[in-house]
């Protein structure tokens, strides 16, 4: 089949830390059909021009998770991203290694930090000794139980979410979206006997550090929606253990605060989230804000249509659909 081709202008990140002092970008121009994936382009470069171009790849069908990289600054699988739309949108295709992981060479990153976080959530079944699995038979499950986690094996651990996550950049101790989505999978698994312990521990080790920016969900090539799974974990944690952590206090306070006037009372939010003793520690910050933005310290008036807001809250509270 004859297909029209386009010229893909590729600017590829090159760096061998053992022999080069700084990275460079190398330009390659290739003739390809517009639907050809970026991986095909990179392999063509390796075959025809430069066999030293270094990357990870294997299945070429978005199932092994090897070829995640930055394509025009977005964390994507090279095998699943066609060159045509990238050229149309950006006029060139900039290829760089994933973010949040040190570069080993060219497009290959050190994945150790990513896997360390994965291991931290103890991703394996911890059966409940009081509820042994049936001998010689599958564990029974209700359709509701199955529905909660049947999509979770879609995760191919490609690391695109980890690469895209600003909370990982800000705090390397944040477990990252993949590890938290994996934790969710075990917390809703009816065969697992450690739900409470898992939730308790994640509350104090990173769950509330998520910035809720949803960049992970945007990056995920398999529609795992890690940010939604993190939200589910937070709801499960509050439901099981109450509002005990600064993170959960902040989340609940935010909700209650807005309900009152339909607009955020920032001064009150600080008090609600932090509690009296921690608030004291923020005193100097408070003085600074009062000087620069005095309006933040004023009590807001109820907005027009506050009644609508109240109705919305009632509706949301009565809707059980969103709860995992």
């Amino acid at each position: 089949m004859a297909t029209a081709t386009i010229t893909a202008e590729m600017d590829v990140f090159r760096f061998d830390p053992t022999s080069e002092s700084k990275p460079r970008y190398q330009r390659y121009s290739l003739e390809l059909p517009p639907h050809a994936p970026v991986l095909t382009a990179l392999l063509k470069i390796r075959e025809e021009t430069d066999p030293t171009l270094t990357l990870r790849y294997s299945c070429r069908s978005a199932i092994c998770g090897s070829c995640a990289m930055l394509i025009n600054a977005r964390s994507r699988l090279a095998c699943q991203t066609p060159v045509g739309p990238e050229m149309e949108r950006h006029g060139r295709i900039v290829i760089e290694p994933m973010g949040n992981q040190p570069v080993l060479r060219d497009l290959v990153v050190e994945t150790e930090p990513f896997w360390r976080q994965y291991h931290r959530v103890e991703p394996y079944l911890k059966p409940d000794p009081l509820r042994p699995m049936p001998v010689g038979k599958e564990t029974p499950m209700t359709p509701t139980e199955v529905k909660r986690f049947q999509e979770t094996p879609r995760c191919i651990a490609c690391g695109a979410c980890y690469s895209a996550c600003p909370a990982v950049t800000a705090d390397p101790e944040f477990p990252g979206p993949m590890a938290l989505a994996k934790l969710y999978r075990y917390v809703v698994d009816p065969r697992d006997g450690a739900h409470q312990d898992r939730l308790l521990r994640i509350q104090t080790s990173g769950l509330w550090l998520c910035l809720r920016c949803h960049l992970c969900t945007e990056a995920c090539p398999k529609d795992v929606r890690p940010s939604e799974r993190i939200r589910d974990l937070k709801e499960l944690a509050i439901a099981a253990q109450g509002v005990t952590e600064p993170g959960s206090r902040h989340a609940v306070a935010f909700k209650d605060n807005i309900a009152e006037k339909g607009v955020l009372n920032e001064f009150k939010l600080a008090r609600q989230s932090l509690g009296p003793s921690q608030l004291l520690g923020q005193l100097s910050q408070g003085v600074k804000i009062r000087r620069r933005k005095p309006e933040l310290m004023k009590k807001p008036k109820p907005i027009d249509g506050h009644a609508e807001v109240v109705k919305l809250y009632e509706l949301l509270d009565s809707d059980e659909e969103g709860t995992p």
């Binding site: 089949m1 061998d16 830390p17 053992t18 022999s19 639907h35 994936p37 390796r46 075959e47 066999p51 030293t52 270094t54 990357l55 790849y57 294997s58 299945c59 070429r60 069908s61 978005a62 199932i63 092994c64 998770g65 090897s66 699943q80 080993l104 060479r105 060219d106 290959v108 994945t111 896997w115 291991h119 991703p123 394996y124 079944l125 699995m133 010689g136 038979k137 599958e138 564990t139 029974p140 499950m141 209700t142 359709p143 199955v146 986690f149 049947q150 979770t152 094996p153 879609r154 191919i156 651990a157 999978r185 698994d189 065969r191």
Partner: protein, 557 residues
């Protein structure tokens, strides 16, 4: 030098299951893999895993279907054991944490598959391999073992009549290292990359199979190459048999459901060799679509079923072919998919070399004979991975310590290091492409003696050129130009064995179809091919097929 009791090469389902079995026996286990275990090609298996768990079904019918599917070349004692282990194996994987699809009553859901008398394929949507791989890896991580991640096997070391260890290449540091081992399990999967059009991952280059052959292991039934009927036209990406199991139909360019002519009873759900030959025949005789392909239609199944039970392939079609299977037919053609052949083993995974074991697609027990049934390969990795792990653990318990000499590393890697020292020579990627093109053209679904002879001389010419292969990348870090060369060498070795074995077998059985001998010949060919390395090429011998209760019959679907 590092030292372990059991070294497992390959970290897909077979390797992991072997490692689990050996670790549970208390052995010091190491896994060597060129990919992170979760990136193994087992994860690409889509359709499901067979176990006769239905009330109306039985291990007995599973055995019969497998024997018949194998075109009576499968060893019946092995098949009986294999099918009896199916139920417990699937249940064990469920207990390890596999997230299978469930029926409304909460039991494991089952779908019909090709060549099977009952719906007995347990599945996890159309990502069954991935679901199993995650569960097994996560379960295995509760055990103690050493993982050599992104290490390539280069050689096996055999001395004094037994395995003593391996030599491997650490991609990240660029060093070769010896690992001493009392026993070694080869679980490196297939070598589909000898073909241009294959559903296999780029990493499927048969490293362990080639290494085993190099030290004298028998390679069994290498002429039997399975072509999957439905792979995406351009990319060769697999469209699961589950698509036909769920009710998908095949149509030729005249909009005719042609399978009714080839398999009047079960149409699209005949075994894979039958369906692939039917598609190839339609296209060859001019009844394909222009561009030479047929259509797989799912539209009549409805959006809800397609998007839930065939979610991944729905995504594949949309991402990789720009086609929405909810609304339009999928253009497909057969592509190389599975190697029935491999390192010859018995039921315990033992090879002809003491201390060397093999399991999974790298091995040939043989349960698939001349043609594998869909849903039997995932099961094989787990059933025989466990057996090989147990046998390797037992061997290591009684074997004296492995002995490696200081000169081993130097001797074993001198040819490889020479590749990097050449100032001119052959490009490994070019040799690989030429190999893939010639195998695709000359050693495909329909085999002609003249073409096989031509293929053999071309493969040998490429092997000759490979002796001057050059690695231009001089870096120590993650040098995939070097691993290209290693892999190309393995593929050339294995391609030669495939062609020699195919030339010798003058009959048609299962996936091996000789146009000059279109009939099965039980009198002369009811036997396994065994290929062994000599300096001038493979030499062939034959072994008998184990029969228990099933007399050979004509295969009709």
């Amino acid at each position: 030098m590092k030292r372990h009791d059991v070294v497992v090469v390959g970290a897909g389902l077979a390797g992991q299951r072997a490692a689990l079995a050996a670790a549970e026996k208390g052995r010091d286990v190491a896994i060597v893999s060129k990919l992170h275990p979760l990136r193994s090609h087992s994860g690409a298996a889509q359709g499901g895993i067979n176990a006769a768990l239905g009330k109306e079904d039985s291990a007995e019918t599973h055995i019969y279907d497998t024997v018949k599917g194998s075109d009576y070349l499968g060893d019946q004692d092995a098949i009986e054991f294999f099918c009896q282990e199916a139920g417990p194996t699937v249940v064990e994987m469920e207990h390890f944490g596999t997230i299978f699809s469930r029926a409304d009553d909460g039991s494991l859901a089952r779908r019909p598959f090709g060549g099977a008398g009952f719906p007995r394929t347990i599945y996890a949507a159309d990502r069954t391999g991935l679901a199993l791989l995650q569960a097994l890896w996560e379960h295995l991580e509760t055990q103690s073992f050493t993982l050599y991640e992104e290490w390539d096997l280069t050689n096996l070391i055999v001395r004094d009549g037994r395995v003593q260890g391996i030599v491997a290449f650490d991609r990240r540091r660029g060093d070769f290292e010896e690992l001493a081992a009392k026993s070694v399990v080869i679980a490196t999967g297939p070598f589909g990359r000898v073909y241009a059009r294959t559903t296999n991952a780029h990493s499927c280059t048969g490293d362990g199979v080639a290494a085993a052959y190099a030290v004298g292991a028998y390679l069994k039934d290498m002429e039997f190459v399975q072509f999957h009927p439905t792979a995406l036209l351009e990319s060769g990406i697999l469209i699961t048999e589950g698509a036909r199991g769920e009710g998908g139909i095949l149509k030729n360019g005249q909009e005719e459901r042609f399978m009714t002519r080839y398999a009047p009873h079960v149409q699209e759900l005949a075994s894979r060799d039958v369906v692939s030959r039917a598609i190839a025949t339609e296209v060859m005789e001019g009844r394909g679509f222009p561009g030479k392909y047929v259509h797989l239609e799912l539209m009549h199944l409805g959006r809800e079923l397609i998007e839930s039970r065939l979610q991944e392939i729905c995504d594949f079609c949309r991402s990789f072919a720009g086609i929405d299977p909810v609304n339009e037919p999928i253009p497909v053609m057969p592509a190389q998919h599975y190697m029935m052949g491999g390192v010859g083993t018995n039921l315990r995974g033992e090879t002809n070399i003491p201390g060397l074991f093999a399991a999974g697609e790298a091995a040939c027990v043989s349960i698939h004979g001349a043609n594998r049934l869909g849903g039997n390969s995932l099961l094989e990795t787990l059933v025989f991975g466990k057996q090989a792990g147990l046998a390797a653990a037992e061997f290591a318990e009684y074997a004296p310590a492995a002995v490696l000499h200081e000169s081993d590393l130097e001797a074993e890697t001198s040819t490889i290091r020479a590749m990097s020292n050449r100032t001119e020579g052959e490009d490994p990627q070019r040799l690989r492409s030429e190999l893939q093109a010639l195998m695709e053209g000359l050693v495909g679904i329909f085999r002609k003696p003249a073409e096989l002879t031509q293929a053999l001389s071309q493969v040998r010419a490429l092997k000759e050129r490979f002796s001057a292969v050059r690695v231009v990348d001089a870096s120590k870090v993650y040098n995939i130009n070097l691993t290209d060369a290693l892999e190309t060498g393995h593929l050339l070795t294995l391609a030669e064995v495939i062609v020699v074995s195919a030339l010798a077998r003058t009959e048609s059985r299962g996936a091996h179809y000789r146009v000059d001998f279109p009939q099965r010949d039980d009198k002369n060919w009811m036997r396994h091919t065994l290929a062994q390395r000599t300096p001038s090429g493979p030499t062939l011998s034959y072994s008998s097929v184990a029969f228990t209760r099933w007399e050979p019959k004509e295969r009709v679907y």
